[in-house]
Structures are given as C-alpha cells and as structure tokens.
C-alpha cells in the first residue's frame, strides 16, 4: 500500500482549466460556485484523478487498459487530501482512494495489463494544439440533451501544458495520452454536455486497439437523460496521435431551482392586505426560502426591508416581481456588525418601527465529518451562521414594536441531522435558543420554523431535490402564524414539519 498527502493549489486548478479548456464556472468562478451546494469552487474531477495517479510508477501506468473513477464528494483547492493506493483483488488491478478528514472524495480503479505500452511522450510535431480558451460552456435543458444527436467537436489541448502541470503535482510518470484523455473527459463534461450545470459523477476510460491517427477526432453521444434525477450519460470516442479511447461518462445536470413568483406564492397564500403598512426586516431575502418569504410578506401588503450581501440581480428581480415599494433592499454583510449598524441606523433615521424581524440567511452548507480535522471548519461555519443571524437580530431589537414578532428559520435537521450536517444542526439549535431568549427578554412572540428539506440552491443536488417541499409552502406556513397572531407576547412557537404541512394543507383554507 502506498500513501501520500496532496494539496491542489487553487492556482493549479486555474492552470488545469486553461490547459484542458474546461473553464466551467464551478471550478473558476467564486460567485457561481457560491450558489451551488459546494459553496465555493471545487477542483476538476479529472485533475483529482491526475493528481492521484502520481502515486503509480510510470512503467505500470504505461500498461493501462481501463481507468474508472467515481467522484463521491467535492475536492476543494488548498485542502490536504490523502491518496492511498491498494492492490486490487486481481493481478494488474490497482485502486486509489482520495479522502479528506475520514471522508472518501474519489475512488480511481486501474487495470494495468496492456501488452502494448502507451507512449510516454508525444512528439511536438505529431500533435496539433489549440483549444478555444475563451469559449463558454454550453447550456442545455434536459429535453434538449435527451434529443441530442451524436455530434463531433474539435479538441486539441496542448500536452506540454498538461505535462508541466502533472510534473508540478508529482505525476512525472503519467503518459501523455492519459493526460489528454483525462483533459478531454473534463472538457466534454464541463464544456460540451451537460456543460455549465454539470456535476461529474464518474467515468470509465477504455483504451482501444488500433494505430494512432494523425488527426484527432472526438465524437460524443448522449446515452441517458433522466428527468427524475437529472442524470446524463455520455459516450465519447476519441482518436488521434495518442491512440484511441472510449470514455463513458456519468454526470448529472443541476436542474434550475424555480424562483418564487407572485403566481407560485399565491398558489399557497391568497394575496391580501392583511399586513398592509407593516414593516418587516428580513435577512437572506434575495434567494431561496428568504425570497419566498419576502414575496409572501409582500403579497400581504407588507414592506420588506431585505438585507442581502451579494445577489443584487436576484433582489432586483424580486422587486420587479413583487413591487419595488414592497421589497426594499438594504445591501450589507450581515456578519459585519458595523455594516449591520449602518443599515439599522438608516431605518431608524427614517422613523421606521419594525413589526417583525425574520432571520433566514445562512452560509453555504458544506458537509463535515466526525473527525478532529473537521472541528475547525465546523466551528467556523457555526460562528458565521450565527453571526449572520444574531448581528441583525440584536441590532434591530430596539426598532421592534412591543407587539411585534421574531422569526428564526431553523430546520428539522435540528431533531435529526442528516449525515454530514452536524455543524448545520448545531448552528440552527444555537440560533433557536438565542432567538427564543431574545423573544422572552424583549417580550415579543417568537417563531422557530423547522421546515423539512426545501428545494433551494443549498440542496440542489440530484437526489436532494426529490421529496423536497417548495419554499413557497413553508413561507405560507410562516405567514399563517404571523397573520394569525397566535400566542401571547414573549412566547415561543415551534413549527415543525408536521405542523407546516398541516397548516398549509389546501383543504384547510387561507387565514
């Protein structure tokens, strides 16, 4: 067994993006990646494989006939990972496991029994190079993918740039053809299909017999496009100076999360003026459940002072949909007390008295494990998560009317945390305690909302979407509580999944 610790610097992810021409924004764009379940850019799966291959001696890699890879979790730049190589059950088989903090991120299987060794280096004059460096990834809908005909595309990455990258990562022994095939698999998934919204789940690379050809040809076809999960299968065949290979690629396409609209909110909550002239402060109102809550309040005639950090485009769209006089944006970083104080002072100077404060904002959720090395990132998450809620909550209390209310968006994960969500549940449990305390001390009604899994960007993974409830439905449950004015001042109410589903039962009618 061979083991080594590797760290993929962010700069090398950028180099791989340039050398492979896979400039998919999941790997290169902070803002784009923040809106995915990963929260920040992740390394290309093919680059992870390339890095792991550095533990395999060159003479063995040259005999490669089949390479499989399963990508089980994200690999983040600048984080140390362990690569462990184990002999497979059969002669000529090798298994590489890439893990971090006790969690396996990828498994690579190698069959190294070829009679004809791969060429270690391709001569410069045998390889035509030139990749479209500024090309944008393709964007497909699932029906478009399902109906796509077989297509071909020109792809000529520069093996020299890939080789230099591999050398820096310790992979001096990786043959050029393998570098090109791995880069090609990344480019197909990230740029061709599914393209921009792809998640790379795994690949099987089978080396083909036959002589090298002077010109490279790449042909691709969709073998699966399943609307239930967004799973997309591809088969790519490539031939060129490096020889021939077949790539069977398992991917998912992240289907778009619906944005709340007047119509989607009204489906759960009849528009009214029940909250006319009410002033509400809402954190995290630009996206997901926060946007649905903002829309629901607006649909009842309230003015929603919406704190947001970055998603200006989303806030503008929300204003356009629900009314610029109803959605009033306040840009600030909720984790920064000075910024929060500035916007609260702005409200105060305008003589605003708040009828309610709703804290919804939460940082991107990245799974953590029960491992000593996971404690620091878990604590960081908890601190950031609480900071986003508690700074606005405490700063806004002096503006909150005595007959007002607090709403804290928690989660049913508090009672039963899913795997990897321990830190998330801990942050929500702490928020619940603090919000209830604030309510009692200030003498206002407090709602702790514990919704089930909702369909948001936070959980927009292939299977998490299945069985998730809509954000509008949960927002309607919260509005029933606000409008119903239930409970005495200073009391805390918990709305759990069963209660949310009961109060939004269409047969029950509107408040």
């Amino acid at each position: 067994m061979t083991a080594r610790t590797v760290t993929l610097p962010a700069a090398e992810v950028a180099h791989f993006a340039a050398a492979s021409a896979d400039v998919n924004p999941l790997h290169t764009d902070e803002d784009f990646a923040r809106r995915t379940p990963y929260g920040r850019p992740i390394a290309h799966g093919a680059l992870v494989v390339l890095t792991a291959l550095a533990v395999v001696p060159a003479d063995r890699l040259a005999r490669l006939t089949v390479l499989t890879a399963d990508f089980l979790g994200p690999v983040y730049p600048d984080v140390p990972y362990q690569v462990v190589a184990e002999q497979g059950p059969e002669q000529g088989r090798l298994r590489l496991r890439i893990s971090c903090r006790g969690e396996t991120a990828a498994v690579v299987g190698l069959t190294l029994d070829g009679d004809r060794p791969l060429p270690q280096r391709l001569s410069a004059d045998s390889v035509r190079t030139g990749v479209p460096e500024d090309a944008a990834p393709r964007v497909w809908s699932l029906p478009e993918l399902a109906g796509a005909d077989r297509w071909t595309a020109a792809y000529h990455p520069d093996p020299q740039r890939l080789r230099e990258l591999a050398d820096r990562l310790g992979g001096q022994g990786i043959p050029d053809p393998l570098l090109l095939w791995l880069a090609g698999s990344s480019w197909v998934v990230g740029m061709q299909a599914p393209g921009r919204d792809a998640l790379f789940a795994g690949l099987r690379l089978t080396r083909q017999d036959g002589p090298p050809t002077p010109d490279r040809e790449s042909a691709m076809e969709i073998t699966r496009a399943d609307p239930r999960t967004g799973a997309v299968g591809l088969r790519a065949t490539g031939s060129g100076p490096e020889g021939s290979a077949v790539l069977e690629l398992r991917t998912f396409v992240r289907l778009p999360v619906p944005v709340p609209t007047r119509v989607s909110v009204a489906a759960h909550l009849t528009p009214s003026q029940n909250l006319a002239d009410r002033q509400i402060l809402l954190t995290g109102g630009s996206r997901g459940f926060g946007a649905a809550l903002a829309g629901a309040f607006a649909s009842q005639g309230a003015t929603v002072w919406t704190l947001y950090a970055r998603s200006q485009d989303r806030v503008q769209a929300l204003r356009q949909e629900f009314g610029a006089n109803r959605i009033r944006p306040l840009r600030c970083d909720a984790t920064n007390p000075a910024e929060v104080a500035r916007v609260i002072a702005q409200l105060e100077s305008n003589g605003i008295e708040l009828d309610g404060v709703a804290v919804v904002a939460a940082p991107p959720l990245q799974n953590t494990t029960l491992h000593p090395d996971s404690v620091a990132p878990a604590l960081e998450f908890i601190q950031r998560s609480l900071g986003m809620a508690l700074h606005p909550l405490t700063a806004a209390l002096p503006l909150l009317r005595r007959d007002g209310w607090l709403l804290a968006a928690s989660s049913d994960a508090v009672a039963d945390p899913p795997d990897g969500w321990g830190h998330y549940a801990a942050a929500k449990a702490a928020l619940e305690s603090y919000a209830a305390y604030c309510g009692r001390r200030h003498g206002v009604r407090t709602l702790l909302l514990r919704p089930p899994k909702m369909h948001t960007d936070l959980v927009n993974s292939p299977t998490a979407r299945l069985g998730a409830v809509s954000v509008e439905q949960v927002a309607a449950a919260a509005l029933h509580w606000v409008i119903g004015n239930a409970g005495p001042q200073g009391a805390t109410t918990v709305l759990d999944t069963a209660e949310i589903l009961r109060t939004t039962d269409p047969s029950r009618g509107q408040p």
């Binding site: 399963d70 089980l72 795994g202 239930r228 799973a231 398992r250 998912f252 292939p462 299977t463």
Partner: protein, 78 residues
C-alpha cells in the same frame, strides 16, 4: 421472495460499486463507502436496465438494505 431478484440486485451492486456486497442482502449503505446517494442512483439504473423495468422515484432516494431494495423492486415489478 425473491431470491432471483436479490441475485439481480447483488449482481448490479457489484457492478456499480466495483465490489461485492459484503453482507449480501443485509448490506446497508454504512457498510460500503462507495454507496453514496449518487452511486445509489446508478444502482437503481443498473437494476432497471437488467430487469427492463422503470422503478418508482422513491427508490432513487430511499437507501435501505439490499434486501429491502430487492423487495421494493419486486413490488414495483408486480
């Protein structure tokens, strides 16, 4: 049940996960690191392909033991 169906599930499992189920029909996701929510989707696809049937959506997210998967497949297949 269903022994033949369980055999199909076990064979599909070995193919997708790259290793046989360590505890046969009693194997649960906690036993196999490769058995994640994503590889489970491909397990369901492999079973669908081998039996030429379409399985209900709930089976794509519910990950019990392989015996319960086989039972759900039997129920879906009628």
């Amino acid at each position: 049940m269903t022994a033949p169906l369980l055999d199909v599930v076990l064979a599909a499992f070995a193919d997708v996960m790259g290793e046989p189920a360590p505890n046969g029909g009693d194997t649960v996701p906690e036993d196999v690191e490769m058995w994640t929510s994503l590889t489970h989707v491909h397990l369901v696809y492999e079973i669908e392909s081998r039996l030429d049937i379409a399985l209900p959506e709930v089976l794509l997210v519910h990950r019990g033991s392989l015996a319960t998967v086989a039972e759900a497949v039997r129920a879906a297949a009628g």
